[in-house]
Symmetry: C2
Subunit: 486 residues, 2 copies
């Protein structure tokens, strides 16, 4: 403590500099968005190229913000893969709308912690309001209460933890999973997202107690195999615990048979968790809601407004039927977190794993008042129609094969030249070559993936900027790549 250095106080940037640089960066973002289309979608950077532009030790002296802002263009942009590009067809649409960028300026500027109601009542109550709006938008009943999570991975982990504690009678307050009692078992489709397996392993169930049920030709979970697996586990003295239904799998947007799964869950006392990470957004369209018929019987539902909808990452919507159970699993109640109003309000710190929380609901609020539900519906219908258009092209073109139904906005295809039509290894090499060619061209970005042994090209439509002409261009690029890769 005995420093002899003069105490200068905080050498923070002053407000005038913040205003100047803030305006400059807002314009920089707008310039970026306006020139997105001209950029190569996937970064052409090689490993280490970005890292080498930076010094290896931190600056002793500050005041270099102008330099850093300039380095965004020289040092950072070459290493950016453009997720909001109209020709981004990889992974999932991750729309970060202008409105949600504006909301983030406010959230960061306020810099509040919404862990408890008292630590900023608005953070809790704007979340209550907007998550209820979102519940109405996707057609869930008032039986569900929503909370903002960061990602579906953590929400699904929470769901499995809630399942574990419900079926074990709150074992965490005793011996946890180390009681020596009959093991708990988790069930999901073998096409479910990797986060389900990850959650089951992190929650301590063990891979031996995770059943990844095989799927039908449409890549949806086979109910007969699920029933058989549950029966076998019961006969072996195990305790079926949780069932995860994928409404729109990551690989192909396959839709698990939710009504039948809800029957199985009800019969055996399983926690039913619905993972609609991408597809949940489509439920804004009444004509799509048949896809999750049965959702009202779920114990928990997660979907990601930070994907197709337009709320910037990270923003995952987690809806539960029994908030008291969630709180009982997630809360600790140390004295330094107790406040006077605890009995009258929600303290969202007890609704997930993290304690601290950003004011994320501002993003949902700004997004919805800017876009409005009508325009959201119109945009989603545009994307569904674009996917149907592409499906027709694939189905009617020689040499192309479609590998899955197209209930939503993802089209899974491969190119099958006659000469190698029966040689899976050659087809894999050929299609990987197409993917590499397309991605390295910078003209479009897609995800190569393997579906039941078949190398496919996964084309995920739904960037807010993607118009029909971009999907048409994708189809041309694919055909050119296929021709030159042959």
């Amino acid at each position: 403590m005995g420093s002899s250095a003069p105490v200068l106080g905080c050498r923070a940037m002053d407000a005038a500099t913040f205003r100047r640089l803030g305006h400059r960066l807002v314009d920089w973002v707008a310039d970026y968005r306006e020139t997105l289309e001209a950029r190569p979608v996937m970064s052409p950077s090689k490993p280490g190229e970005i890292r080498r532009r930076f010094p290896t030790s931190p600056p002793r002296e500050g005041g270099r913000m102008d330099e850093a802002v300039a380095q965004l263009d020289t040092h950072v942009m070459p290493g950016i893969t453009h997720w909001n590009h109209p020709s981004f067809f990889a992974y999932f649409p991750s729309n970060t709308t202008y409105a949600s960028i504006l909301a983030d300026i406010v959230a960061s500027g306020l810099g509040v912690q919404g862990m408890s109601w008292q630590t900023s009542p608005a953070a809790t109550e704007v979340e209550e309001v907007t998550m209820d709006w979102l519940r109405q938008i996707v057609g869930l009943s008032t039986a569900f209460t929503g909370v903002v999570h960061d990602t579906a991975s953590t929400a699904t982990l929470c769901a499995l933890l809630c399942a574990r504690e419900k079926v074990s009678g709150f074992a965490q307050n005793g011996k946890g999973l180390q009681s020596g009692e009959a093991p708990l078992v988790v069930y999901a489709s073998d096409q479910g997202h990797s986060s389900i397996e990850k959650a089951a392993l992190l929650a301590g169930f063990g891979k031996d107690h995770l059943r990844l049920i095989a799927t039908d030709d449409d890549h949806a979970l086979r109910l007969d195999l699920l029933e058989r697996a549950v029966a076998k586990d019961l006969a072996a003295g195990l305790r079926p615990c949780a069932l995860v239904a994928a409404i729109g799998t990551t690989g192909t947007t396959a839709v698990d048979p939710l009504v039948g799964m809800a029957d199985v869950a009800a019969r055996h006392g399983l926690w039913l968790h619905v993972d609609a990470a991408l597809a949940g957004t489509a439920m804004a369209l009444p004509e799509c809601r048949y896809l999750w018929e049965g959702v009202e019987r779920a114990d928990s539902v997660v979907f990601n407004p930070h994907k197709w909808m337009g709320v910037g990452f990270d923003f995952s919507a987690y809806y539960v039927r029994d908030p008291e159970h969630l709180i009982r699993v997630m809360s600790t109640n140390p004295s330094y977190l107790r406040t006077a109003h605890d009995s009258e309000v929600r303290n969202f710190r007890d609704w997930h794993i993290q304690l601290g929380r950003r004011f994320r609901s501002l993003k949902l609020w700004f997004f919805l008042v800017d876009e409005g539900v009508d325009a959201l519906e119109t945009r989603l219908r545009r994307d569904l129609e674009n996917a149907q258009w592409l499906k027709v092209q694939v189905d009617t073109a020689a040499g192309w094969e479609r590998l899955a139904p197209v209930p939503l906005q993802t089209v899974c295809v491969r190119h099958v030249p006659k000469e190698i039509a029966h040689d899976e290894a050659a087809l894999a090499t050929h299609n990987l070559a197409i993917a590499r060619r397309v991605n390295e061209s910078g003209n479009a970005y897609l995800t190569p993936s393997v579906l039941k042994g078949k190398q496919m090209l996964r084309l995920s439509i739904g960037s807010a900027t993607t118009e029909r002409r971009h999907v048409e261009a994708l189809w041309s690029v694919l055909n050119a790549a296929a021709a030159s890769a042959t």
Copy 2:
């Protein structure tokens, strides 16, 4: 899919509107920061007051951003507790500097996912560079590799999961914690953060296998009791697994005896996790590093640059000795996430629970080039000296009692009027009344908390805007509240 509505495409805000509103919100943030001091620190809002200002259903028509921006002042601000206020002495300093707000504009504006290297190489490599800078700043050796987590709660959960898998020989790939083998046990101080208990319960250990070791008069873990607990568990056939050392507990910034704990950990093969959530920032000061002597023997270390340091929430720094182990615990490797460069690069999705990731390292970069390490050191020394000044006032004033040493920036006190000096219940009522009076006055915000049965007032100094005069004012406010509460 058969909508007859005209397809309008995306009715997103146009770039010109974004520029206009973006500039306006940057100025709004600057105005807010410049008027912070005049605002009541704790929101005076009553439960439901904010919620009632909003409609109960979402807008069908969009285009209402100007209205929403205006509602920030009328609907949201009354419900804000001002975490960056110079008289914020509650919980922990949560400095969101101008530089990190600017970085968030860029991160949101780019809207990239840094889950894999290829999905934006810059997101991975800027993180590698800046997390290595941060490692140097706090004096950790090159034996540690850093990754950005969101919060210490999730980082500590990761640490306990890594411990669980190390000691169990990767049980997650078999029966998980449900093998019936000897239970694994976690050890920490009874003054450790609630997130440690939460993590142990979520990881499946069970409360019966969590030992919260009692502390000494300085509120640091008692090594003799730790050794006794480990010996007792070994004798009972249990398996000691993980040991969490708190460097700066949440309650009082007590410092656990890390060297002795490292000895115990080494002797019994325990995973040693260091939770320096708040205090890690102080390690930027060479004169503070004695506080975590022994840290080089830890398996994992977490601290929060989003607290005292100035990187806006959420930004937790997690350092590990063995990244391969972390990856083995956290990774799943589905085909849709594999990319061509996987063997040459880091895919940070495999370094934590979440899959998706914001470009958070921009915040650390901008913060460091703006403030510089020299000015950071000066500011931290200012805060330490302010805490020492307050400590002296408390120690030399009649009627006040200090309940813990002050190694850092937190001062734990209570007011003890002679008439009720031996009546704990009356003292609790009296000090809670002081806390309520101070907090409701809006002049300062502090956290009432209970320390070993004693109701205390926890005064946490370190907002970037807090000068000596604010601490002097706090001391006056406390004395006035104590006098009028008597």
